[in-house]
């Protein structure tokens, strides 16, 4: 067996006390230190220091540290949980929003068509438009809730192929003074029907500062068919 010099022995001592040398190296070192007093002392001091360090008292962990650690960790975890929940919600909802909106729109459209098809016959709807009289402060425009107009609107005798628009001049008493057909079918039948209906119609006259005044109202009739 080859002998070991002091320099090599000292280099090996640290790993030797940790049992990190091969059995052959360990044996050579042991032979050397058995014969070499300075190296023996050196090895002894390494072993003694290792024991000294291993015998150090473990510091007592402060109780408040454990508690504070738990609290801070809990806060951090909950904070993160909220953020994660929000992200997850976005992640889940984002792909759903567009189809959901599409579905709702489709449903509304479907019900609209369905309700339209359930209605029987032809219905004429009257829509009043405010005249172009100035609208300000104490001015109340002409309007109507006259059942005659409703009867007129629900009549299915008239054959309106195109929308009918009539500009109507309403007097202080709420009666039609004059009218002009702005657009609509030019048939005599429709003209007669307009004349008959408007002569019977009763409007609530427009008022300015509380007093009834003459005014104009545009009436529109549209045929809705199924």
């Amino acid at each position: 067996m080859r002998t070991m010099d002091c320099s090599s022995a000292q280099k090996l001592m640290s790993v030797f006390i940790d049992s990190m040398v091969s059995p052959a190296e360990a044996e050579r070192l042991e032979v050397h230190v058995a014969l070499c007093r300075p190296c023996h002392r050196q090895l002894q001091s390494y072993k003694s220091m290792r024991s000294l360090l291993a015998s150090m008292e473990r510091p007592v962990v402060p109780e408040d540290m454990v508690l504070e650690t738990r609290v801070r960790l809990s806060q951090e975890r909950n904070k993160n949980f909220l953020v994660r929940f929000e992200n997850r919600l976005n992640y889940v909802l984002r792909p759903v929003v567009v189809p959901a909106l599409f579905g709702v729109s489709l449903t509304m459209l479907f019900f609209g068509v369905l309700l339209g098809s359930l209605a029987s016959g032809s219905t004429v709807l009257a829509q009043s438009q405010w005249s172009d009289e100035p609208v300000f402060g104490l001015y109340k425009p002409v309007h109507t809730t006259d059942p005659t107009m409703m009867a007129f609107a629900s009549s299915d005798k008239q054959d309106l192929d195109e929308p009918l628009t009539i500009e109507t001049h309403v007097g202080e008493e709420g009666r039609v003074i004059d009218y002009e057909v702005l657009s609509g079918p030019p048939s005599p039948e429709v003209s007669g029907w307009i004349r008959e209906t408007l002569s019977l119609a009763q409007f609530t006259p427009a008022t300015a500062f509380g007093r009834p005044v003459e005014s104009k109202i545009i009436l529109s009739f549209v045929a809705v068919r199924n």
């Binding site: 940790d18 002894q44 000294l52 360090l53 291993a54 962990v61 402060p62 540290m65 801070r72």
Partner: protein, 210 residues
Amino acid sequence: MPREIAYNWLDRPAELSAQEALFVVRLQANEDAAYDELVRTYNASIYHVAFRMLGDAAEASDVVQEIFLKVFRNIKGFKGEAALKTWIFKIAFSEILNRLRWWKRRHRFATVSLDERPNGVPTSETVPDTGPTPEEILQCKEREGAIQQALGRLSHEHRSIIVLRDIEGFSYNEIADVLGISMGTVKSRIARARADLKKSLMRYLSVQHL
């Protein structure tokens, strides 16, 4: 009381056991009980390392909390290449060394009072009626203080390796993983660190002559 430190020249690298893998899954699932267990299991050893490295109870306490927060923030990224303990101490040493560098930049030096126990409680308040005599306690405190001061005089690199190996009993492979250095560097660095430390602690070492 001296602790048993395992020494084995084969020094196999620590791997993630099935039980530990399950524990990691629970941590990654943010389970309350798992985090309680994590703190219970590791707070003492991390605090001990932090205290030995920083030499200050309040700083050690503060850094331990930061370490656990970092463990929580990074647990999703833990892939199990090493044991959980190694991974946690890697985070711990990164945090502790950052704090030491921060101190160094501000020219602040830690001092250890011989009147204080390691947990920061004055000795006079904790001396029990029975057990070691006041002289023995004083000697013990003096020795502990001298070791802590000697550790404080070491470079950060040498102090880290002494704390991990000789105080906490980590294996060479674990040290290599924790400090991110090769096995060869672990061996040479620990030899130099011990040689440095030995000079400061000579009066406390008992040497039997041939």
